[in-house]
Symmetry: C2
Subunit: 119 residues, 2 copies
C-alpha cells in the first residue's frame, strides 16, 4: 500500500527519482526508486538528520509543528512532508520535475499515508 | 539598499513578518521586521545552523549547490535563498502570507542582493 502511494506521488511529480516513507529514527518503511543509481536509504537517513535539526530549530523559535520542508539544489529538488511525530514522506525530483505537482500530490497522499501508519 | 530590497520582498509576500540578509557565520547584514515581537537575529542564527546542516547533507549526497530551502511550520513559513557561498536571504511569513509570491520575489530580488554584496 505504501509502495503504491509512493509510486503515485513519483508519477504525479513528473520527474520523480525516488520516494520514501521513513521514521525519524532513520529506518525506512518503504522506498521506491526510478533511478537505480540513487541510494535512497542513505538519502532518507540524511534527510532524517536534517529534519531533526529543523524540528529542534522550530521548537527553539516556537514555530509550532513542522509540516513541510523543501530543498532545491542544483541536481535534485527534495520535498519532505511530516506525517506524524514519528514518520515523514519525501520525494526527490530531477531539476525538470514538476515541483508544484510534487508538493500537491505529497499533501494529498500524506493523509492516506498517515492513515496507513496508524492502521 | 539591502533594507529597501528586503522591505519589497516582505510587502510582496503579503504577510511577511521579517526578512534578513545574513552571513553563513550567523552575522546579519540587514534585517527588517513587521512584527516587533520577532527576534529576527535569533531566527537568522538558527537558520544559518539549519543551512549549514543542509549544505553538508547536499555535499554528502552530491546534490550540487543548495539554492533554496522552505520550511512550513504551524505558525511560520520561512523561505531561504542562498545568495553566494557566504550569504543568504530569508523571509518569514505568517500562515496566511502568500508563499508563492514570497518565493518569486525572493528569486527576483536575489540577483540584486547578490550584486549588492559583491559591489
Amino acid at each position: 500500500m505504501f509502495g503504491k502511494l509512493l509510486r503515485q506521488i513519483m508519477d504525479e511529480a513528473e520527474g520523480g527519482l525516488a520516494a520514501l516513507v521513513m521514521g525519524f529514527d532513520g529506518l525506512p518503511i518503504e522506498t521506491v526508486v526510478n533511478d537505480s543509481a540513487m541510494d535512497v536509504e542513505s538519502i532518507g537517513m540524511e534527510l532524517s538528520v536534517v529534519l531533526h535539526q529543523i524540528r529542534r530549530t522550530a521548537e527553539s523559535l516556537q514555530s509550532g509543528q513542522v509540516r513541510e520542508v523543501s530543498i532545491v539544489a542544483e541536481k535534485y529538488t527534495t520535498v519532505i512532508r511530516v506525517l506524524s511525530g514519528e514518520y515523514f514522506v519525501a520525494v526527490v525530483l530531477s531539476p525538470n520535475g514538476n515541483y508544484g505537482k510534487a508538493k500537491f500530490s505529497l499533501r494529498v497522499q500524506s493523509t492516506r499515508l498517515a492513515a496507513e501508519l496508524t492502521a
